[in-house]
Amino acid sequence: MEYVGFTDIILGILTCLWPVWLSIAIIMGLSWKFQKKLSLYGRIYENPMGIVGLFIVFFWLFAALYADIVAPFHPLEQFAALKNQLPGVIEPESGLVQFFGGDKFGRDVFSRVIHGSQIVLVIAPAATMFAFVVGISLGLPAGYYKGKVDTVLSFLANLVLAFPVILLFYLLVTPGIRETALPQVMAGVFFLFPVIFFLTLFYSRYRERPQLLAVQSVIVLVFGGWVYISLVFDADPFGILSLEPNELNIFVAVVFASSPGVFRIVRGLTMDIATRDYVAAAQTRGEIAWYVALWEILPNARGPLIVDACLRIGYTTILLGTLGYFGLGLVPESPDWGTTIKEGSRLLRLYVHPALPPALALMSFVLGLNLLADALREQSLKD
């Protein structure tokens, strides 16, 4: 086997990732130039740690986006000759270099890390967004009405929070449970929230203007219905969106585990903001409760919620990694980071190189999000 040296590996990786560098340079350069006009996002650029965090997040975002161009090999392609070969090994037929070496099936570790980011960067933010919609839809009434609504919802949220996450996953993400209708039922409930949320959002503001409201409702219903049918029943009439049963299972479990946390934050923020004067003004104007909650309270709670969303995406990434590490839900050959860490750690005593890159990738992504959240918090406090 022929190998290239350390410098060549570094140079190779740097050149290989050129579309990523180019995109980051363009987007961060433009944002830097117009940072005064970009409100909160632009103010991140005043904070060095924020810039670092943003850079890391953009890096993984673009790496996931360009995975097919950037990665030299297919993530599942196996080379018998390259089994457990050290970093920098040259694949004899194509002459391409496996920058981080091969894993136990001779698959390229580098390409798998890059392709793994695709899975992580789709599921983690999407699941977090759903958790936010669920948490907001339940947290607003709980914090606004208080009383019985609050007692019941808080009890339910605490019920889920009292479950250790790992136990929850062991019970909810199994091949056995996919034979039952449980994941689909849960998905059916969770995915209903966004549709109801947006309908209420538009209704509470535009109910005096039926024509506009009708247009908005139709758009929400058609689009929401399409996504709903595609994801819950896996029956997309256009064949664009689809989720495998195991992916749906993971998705639902992650949303289920993280929405009570969002609920608690939204409830607390709502209780706090509901005492402000502008809320009292809206109430005096005779606005309906949902208008006050969705158009007065929610926009004013956005700062802490954005910070929490950043942290929560990171936390969801860690959860996904945990699922992969325990071999729950994802298929064994999946290139996602958790699964590759598990595969690599089995041979850790003999070969270090298959386990380290995905581990560091996961860590860097979460670190980027945490730094970003920290910078956002600091900048929004400066007001």
Binding site: M49, F155, F163, I166, L171, G321, T322, S345, A359, L367
Partner: protein, 345 residues
Amino acid sequence: MLRFLSVRLGTMLLTMLCLTFVVFYLVNLEPNLRKLSISQTNMRASDEMIERWLVYNGYREPFLERYGQWLGVWEKPPSRDVETGEPKPRFSFCDEASEPVFSGVIQGDLGCSTAFRTTVADRLLPALGHTGVLMFWVMLTMVPSALLIGVLAGMREGSKLDRSLSVLSITSTATPEYVSGIVFAVIFASWLGILNGSAATATRDGVTFYNFALPVMTMSIYGMGYIARMTRASMAEVMVSQYIRTARLKGLNFRTVVLKHALRNALIAPFTVIMLQFPWLLTGVVIVEVMFRYQGFGWLLVEAAGNNDIDLLLSCSIVSVLVVLLTQLISDVGYAYLNPRIRVR
């Protein structure tokens, strides 16, 4: 205070009842029962044999009745031999009564572990002991170092020391156990060879630095950053308060102000955070024990879940839910106790 405590304890009991019911429902789903039956009959059983095993062992009794029996509020009938009708225990490795008795969790009977072929209590108690040892060392490393980092960082907000310690603690919160475990194992076990990459010997030969340092380090890192961040925030808040300024203006030196005046008030908030860390540590325990092959509670939970060992899994969930709820209670009561500004009626 008494009223507050009784309401909290009542909610806790209700929560536990609901949660055990949910777990009971999930482990008794049809595919899980089939899996259990297949692994217990130890053969490629036909559908008919699976069904017979399930009926014989009482898994086909009405659901609520079985939950009541498990709980101990419903009489548990002895299982009988199919042919003779004589009472015969379901599992040879557990003593079961030969006449109907109330014997459930309330009476202290946790049931039989089908995977380990023994009683649940027999398996669970030593495992909890092992995890207790691990937690003790984790707490002993994590809490003091986290508090130290937090206090040092929050002492002078915005200083170089603060910046670098903050980055350090943010990095540690971004490093889950399965990442830090691997990185540490690579550095200390594979390259330097000074620590053991497996803690399996710790349960048998006792805890040594050689076999225990890696799991303890791995677990401490993830929680440390969070506690340090909270301590820093609370310390920074205290340091700008009026009485600290007064103390400084009085001419006290910085050291005395920090140690005597600031520290006491700054450590109230981290107390809550440390208590609320326990549920997180529970997930960490599972990962670390599986990773370093340490046969404690987390390892047991994974084994129980993997084999659908119903009674063991239920007992594991009781333990973990109890840990979560008790730490929440302690954190609330302790906070009220430590902070005179908050009084519970």
